[in-house]
Amino acid sequence: MSLRRQGTTLFSAMLAFVGAAVVLQLWLLTVSVEALLSGAYKTLIPAAAGSSTLLLINAGLLRYVFRFDRDAHGE
């Protein structure tokens, strides 16, 4: 199996994970905006922290994609 074919499979799995994380972040944003408008400020920082954690996970996966891509170009 070529590295590129492995990459296609791997990126499909990553897509599913990153897509789910982005949907979760979208939900966190709607919760935050609703909390902001209703004055429930205590919800905002945990929601932002959760969203940032998901961003870090996504950024880590993207870094892996870049490294994988570099290796695939050199195949």
Partner: protein
Amino acid sequence: MNTPDEEQGCAGCQAKATPKWRQDFPVEWEGDHYVTRREMVKFLTLGSLLLASANWATVVASRLLHRGSHAERFIGSASALEKAGSVLFRYPTDADPCIAVRTPEGKLVAYSQVCTHLSCAVVYDKAENGLFCPCHHGLFNLTGQPIAGPPTRPLSRVQLEQRGDQLFAVGMEAL
């Protein structure tokens, strides 16, 4: 004359010779799937960055909105409150209607008048001993908790101070 690579059937030589732009615009389906999925992961991560930034922007916005809420403001006299049962005032800004009530136990409480359902103004209902929203018949008790109707979140509480006969709003409690 064949090069040594061609003689050995070097698989990677073709890829090495191909410029990067050409690898990003492949002809074969396999290469196309690889590129489109990789690009989609990049695009979604950018979206993730924007969503996290927007979440932190709500935190900043809450700080800006909440900043002036510790300013002290005279809201009326205690004698007027005893007479009417409730006093309407605006706090922390002129765009924020609030209501102060003396409970049957004699405790002084004040809340934002904005119903947490659809932002109608709540009024004091002496018979129900609570704050009533006439739009959709929501009812809050005098601790600000919703007890009937569509509202599910409590009212924002205003901190009060009584100095002699004068009443002052001194802050908003975050929910």
